[in-house]
Symmetry: C2
Subunit: 746 residues, 2 copies
Amino acid sequence: MAGKMTTIDGNTAATHVAYAFSEVAAIYPITPSSNMGELADAWAAQGRQNILDRTVSVVEMQSEAGAAGAVHGSLSAGALTTTFTASQGLLLMIPNMHKIAGEMLPAVFHVSARSLATQSLSIFGDHSDVMSCRNTGFAMLASASVQEVLDLATVAHLTTLQSDIPFLHFFDGFRTSHEVQKVEIIDYDTLKGLFDFEQLARFRNRAMRPDKPIIKVGAQNPDVYFQGREASNRYYNALPGLVQETMDRLARITGRQYHLFDYVGAPDATKVVVVMGSGCETVEETVNYLCKRGEKVGAVKVRLYRPFAADRFVDALPQTVEKVAVLDRTKEPGSQGEPLYLDIRAALADRDVRVIGGRYGLSSKEFTPSMVNAVFRHLDQSGFHGFTVGINDDVTNLSLSVDELIDTEDPEVVRCMFWGLGSDGTVGANKDSIKLIGDNTDMYAQGYFVYDSKKSGGITISHLRFGKKPIASPYLISTADFVACHNPAYIGRYDMISCLKPDGVFLLNSEWSNDEVFARLTSDMQELIIERNIRFYNINALDISMRAGLGQRINTVMQTAFFKISGVLPEEQAIKLIKDSLKKRFITKGEDIVKQNWECVDATAAALQEVKAPGSLSEAKGSYQPKALIAEDASDFARNVILPVMHQQGDSIPVSKMSYDGILPTATSALEKRGIAPRVPQWQPDNCIQCNICSMSCPHGVIRAKQIAPDDLESAPDGFHTIKSGTKNERDLRYRIQVYCEDCTG
Amino acid sequence: MAGKMTTIDGNTAATHVAYAFSEVAAIYPITPSSNMGELADAWAAQGRQNILDRTVSVVEMQSEAGAAGAVHGSLSAGALTTTFTASQGLLLMIPNMHKIAGEMLPAVFHVSARSLATQSLSIFGDHSDVMSCRNTGFAMLASASVQEVLDLATVAHLTTLQSDIPFLHFFDGFRTSHEVQKVEIIDYDTLKGLFDFEQLARFRNRAMRPDKPIIKVGAQNPDVYFQGREASNRYYNALPGLVQETMDRLARITGRQYHLFDYVGAPDATKVVVVMGSGCETVEETVNYLCKRGEKVGAVKVRLYRPFAADRFVDALPQTVEKVAVLDRTKEPGSQGEPLYLDIRAALADRDVRVIGGRYGLSSKEFTPSMVNAVFRHLDQSGFHGFTVGINDDVTNLSLSVDELIDTEDPEVVRCMFWGLGSDGTVGANKDSIKLIGDNTDMYAQGYFVYDSKKSGGITISHLRFGKKPIASPYLISTADFVACHNPAYIGRYDMISCLKPDGVFLLNSEWSNDEVFARLTSDMQELIIERNIRFYNINALDISMRAGLGQRINTVMQTAFFKISGVLPEEQAIKLIKDSLKKRFITKGEDIVKQNWECVDATAAALQEVKAPGSLSEAKGSYQPKALIAEDASDFARNVILPVMHQQGDSIPVSKMSYDGILPTATSALEKRGIAPRVPQWQPDNCIQCNICSMSCPHGVIRAKQIAPDDLESAPDGFHTIKSGTKNERDLRYRIQVYCEDCTG
């Protein structure tokens, strides 16, 4: 079957399958799994039918503990049931998970794996939550990409019903849950064809029903509990075989063949990396790169983590392997090694293989081919066990240095980065661009979106890839063909363009004219543009969208500009796709709105002119000198931690600068002057009636009303206007509205 | 220091230390840890002072999740804080435990380790709860006996403050938490001398205080979380050394030297068992037994499980070791092996040692020297990994057969068993006997109490050991010097005396005369008494205590009888001790109550006469033929599961007879006719006014009022009395109160 190609994120993929096979979904939202529950809820509200031609009953509980309890109850009553969660939310489900598995109830929990809160909370992705469930008796199946989420979620739902063993199906939070990918979807008719209705009947027959009373959840004493606990052994023994059979069955339909452990690389490899989750794709890409260069390397991608079928792992590994590095995306302080390492170590007890383990990617820390390469180099040197990769550990010196930077990506892939402001529409427009290209051309597309924690008004960086072949590369773009900066305040604050390839494109949104804009760049940027022959475009998006009647939303302008100059699609086709899309989105609001948007597209296409860079730096009419973001006498913490974070360079902060117990100094937000507002309020003293409502209405406390004693005004600078204070006083107080421009979010 | 010897259980020992070192205890009761919270609460109510001369603030929360949250908050505020829990209660604490460890807050959680509810709930002991916490970042310290609970709880509280790493201090639920032992207690002055007040000041200084504001519990993003997570490495690296230093410091005071891993056995052992918790004592006893017979065996007792100091484990193991069996008291379905196995497997990766793992003792399943011997025999044969010991697994055939029964106990130890009825006072009297002997003589004493789940009216079996040397043997008595049966209904139902040694003593409480009592025994019992020359005593305890004015409480009689004939102490000394104890207990209630009890003691001593058994079975004047407990046509479940459980032989039920998912048939309690009441109510038709209050007042529904149609009475047996029904009716209905004697609990 060639299924329909569609462009979705991992959470949508998981929900597509979960909805198909469920009658009940008991949910409680937690980032990054919330969308799964939200989607299921929305589809149910729309009356979407599952493969049993019923609408799923979606129940939101008071917490994840309640959701797990509801799942347990629903399963006991014989309803196909699912849930979605992550992190500490998953931890709240653990007590019920032991019961669900103990009672051999088929279910699938879809988990967008996320860090546990420890020294600090973090909403980002790693395996510390799912690894906390490895002793619950749940089967654990890991997906490495959005396509795998679709495929392995299907395997999980089909196998749980056959095996009576519940599944925890997981994939990396954000990296896979929120990555947008073009994938082949499996439609509900096909899923229904795979479903075993006899097993469903068997499940219903085991349920608690008034017409066939049973006793459950009894108490067992020392005389019989142990025997009861061993009675499930043969079910666990059978499970790996059942999972493989289901994988084979699915492969016959989709052509995508999975195994419990998939080996990739040289058939005669001597060095192998073992990994699970999205890291698989990065490792595979690197292994292919190194193999092409003649290295004898390989990788094992772990799909079924529990039950751990050691024999199948050993079978998957070439006989030639001498050294194995096991990469765990979790940290268990006080352990000899992380969980996957311990398992591989035990599985290879009888083979003469050196096994070491290391940590990577905690809390969505970047994991790149260069890091994988560093791990292979570490194996070359028979390096130590217990390393880390991706950070600079200058305290316990466990980190590998990643000196050799390699680019393993397909050179045909077009890579684009967009620096936007939270809620300026950049991310939404980019998601739309990916869908446009993914759904309307035969090209593949991938999108990943980085946010800071300020949400609206924070920074967003969109990483988009487009290519003729499927795109793996689950890591940020480090070498770009196209960079767009949607906010001129970012100039001099963030290093945006040093990743650009020679002849790449840089698109800037600013209110500066094309004549003056080059001089508004820092000299570093100017030098780079000249040296690499960057094609530099400048556009006043705000002006165009205002004139088209679209207000401050600059996304249509910027999207059009991107399509026009990025070269991802031929310009004519691109403009047509955008216009079609705008029509589809706005037709319900009226023909005139569509027309406004189309005009905006045309105006952008017309306005976009390349900025001519001077031939050399000396010809530039000046450059922008960024102000230091923090005072010279700032504290160590401000200089070593806050400052790099403000420059989006937190990755470079070494371990020694971090608090060991999560304790931080107070009042540091005062240090961060972001200056992100394209327009700020201006006080009109002549019109002011001193009502102070402007001050009350600013949610950021940026507009402040002040009364000032005349003495204090003596050394006031020129232009520091004040008016007579209208409050009753005998001190001749003056009055002023002061706007703190650098804190304003516009 | 020779500390004061006292006779307490493990929970009291843990609370003694926890109370000393805590300012706050946030609790929520769960078996078998409830007593710890209760004791702390009672001591606080009594105004007992900790080593800081303050009363501990004990706060009961709404659940264990709340208790953990309160601990977290209290620690954040800089108060020394503890809690007590087990099983699913501990699971509810996991989310907070990650935070407490992540924030490097010193604390000790005392856990009486208990099974997790899976296919069934169980309140009994194993390590499945604590093993679920091995990734929380808590240090984990295991105590194997009541004395170790005192010592290692002290180590935990002292080291946590030095290291900033919280401790989970655990010991086996029931086996250690409820075992009564004579131990050397460490007084609070000594504990205070060990306490480091500088570390306390450092802890207070790290706390959240209004006068020194800090930020905690922030959010970290991918840029810095990983580095922050590695910042605690050096604290974990330092911890094993700190624990050992504290153990050494304690040893200088108590003379009891512990190590992170303690090796016992032959210095040139080739086979070694690794174990943790109370099983250590059983393994050590067996190793000593086998070594005396020239075997080259040994054992490693694991004390510090997290951080797992692999180097220290390897150092502890003799170089000569070829084969290692790791015993885990937990089961993680779907794993390759249980947690301790995986750790030892990894620790020995570089040594040419064959390592296998096995499960034992789930949910307080007995773990005896014969089973340990079976493990060594399994090692002899280079047996398979993943075995179980202690059950008959006839499905997956993983269980070792325990054919060779060995007795490793000191022959000087006097071993006594008491079969009582829940709330008949037997257990209380036995605890008193242990305290009497432990606290007033130089003898050591151990008591362990087995209950079924019927509580009041159920069966209790007390296992008491007395000896000149400290007693380990944390398993039930299988070869006894003395057996008492406090309820004649047990004859023919339970196998009570086949464990008796030749010349042992059997004491029966019954209302039969000494002349007729022998004929009331089963022929099996009669034969055994004759063959082994058992000294058989019969006493009408109810009669004696009624006559002394003590009502139905037979414990004073039975305790006196035990002391008189067991030979544990010389009779005169024993009687004096009992009388002193009775005086102490009852003097507040008046001299006459004391006198009544003393009379009861004297009457018992006078009445107790040995029953002369006939020379051979053929001379017996008949014997008791027990009725089958269930009908011949009973279901398979009734025959295979209910019946052995009713005979206290549930241990013999094989895996194949157990439900794999915990589902049981309904209405099986109707099968169990216990017949335990020494006296049952009798209906007096002549006095009956048909008010039915007797029926309403029986909590077990044993007294039932019936109206009977005359036709139905036609085939009634003789003596089936009825009276005319007083209710208005035209059918000449008859009336009767029917007592269901076999269900009556007296």
